[in-house]
Amino acid sequence: MRNIGIAIVFFALWLLMSGIFEPFIIGLGAASVLLTLFITSRMDAQDGDRVDLLLAPVKYTKYLAWLMLEIARANWAVTKIILARDMPIRQHLFKTPYTQKTDVGQVIFANSITLTPGTITVETEDGHFLVHAVSYSEDDPDALADMDARITACETAGGA
């Protein structure tokens, strides 16, 4: 089941990247997809290290749209700082707790923090991230907690 999904994704990627729909070329693509599948399944049997995407698709799409708005706003804020004559920088390193249960959720949270300019995830520790802000304001922890709650709502299952 899982392998079939991987094969479909790989083959679609091949077709889209090559853009040539001739039998010979498509055959080569199929052969390389099969080879890749063979290698990945062997690797999987070796360490069993897999990543499961336990996310609700619709909610996650909504979250991405919201994130885009956030990115736009944050970009504008940092742009103003860069272009201001006196550059009102107020740097601060602070801790932000996370509530996601899955690895993927935590990665999404950490990357979302970094994607919005002005805040960068610097270090991951048990139960919280270290976040660096270039112009820290007292509302920042609340804004990050809001983002955290939104991502946690996207998770469908609570595996470790």
Binding site: I20, E22, I25
Partner: protein, 189 residues
């Protein structure tokens, strides 16, 4: 046309500036980073010259592997380049003379994209004509390299592969030997 010239000139200016900076810089880590940028710039030039396949190679070798290899080398040596003991004038003279000779040589070369250039009048025309029927592969460079010059390419690939394996063995061997001294005998990350 003007725009092409402008793009080429800007890229070349940045390339030369990076080259001078590499020569001037004593901090070897900075040199490594500069070399990465140098390779990125030359790849951009290759793209503007339509040499897409060479740009591919430059991406994999120049920007990817060589930076990592240079960093691994940096772990084995010091971080600051030593001051040269000899005067720079004789090397500069040699380089200037060589450069002048090369530029003099290019005067005889055909222009870029000249249809009457020796490279174009040989078998190239036949390859271009017959290739699509013989091979049924849409990319010209690919079918010439993989079929008409198949043995040549195989030999090249073997040489490059051997060199790569050799370098990797050298580096990993050195690291293991150095690691034997401290307390952590067993585990090699």
């Amino acid at each position: 046309m003007m725009l092409d010239l402008f793009i080429d000139l800007s890229l070349f200016t940045m390339l030369v500036a990076t080259g001078i900076a590499i020569v001037k810089m004593r901090r070897l880590f900075g040199v490594t980073m500069m070399a990465g940028v140098f390779s990125l710039l030359s790849a951009m030039l290759l793209v503007t010259l339509d040499a897409v396949d060479v740009a591919f190679t430059e991406a994999a070798v120049g920007a990817g592997i060589s930076t990592v290899l240079m960093l691994s080398t940096l772990t084995l040596t010091s971080r600051i380049e030593k001051k040269p003991v000899h005067t720079p004038w004789i090397p500069l003279l040699v380089v200037t003379v060589t450069g002048a000779a090369i530029i003099y040589g290019t005067l005889d070369m055909p222009h870029f994209g000249d249809a009457n250039a020796p490279a174009q009048v040989g078998v190239a025309a036949q390859y271009m004509e017959r290739g699509p029927e013989d091979m049924d592969i849409p990319n010209v460079v690919t079918y010439i390299l993989a079929s008409y010059r198949g043995y040549d390419t195989m030999g090249e690939t073997a040489v490059v592969f051997t060199a790569g394996v050799g370098v990797l063995m050298l580096i990993s061997g050195l690291r293991r030997r150095r690691r034997k001294h401290p307390k952590d005998e067993g585990e090699v990350g």
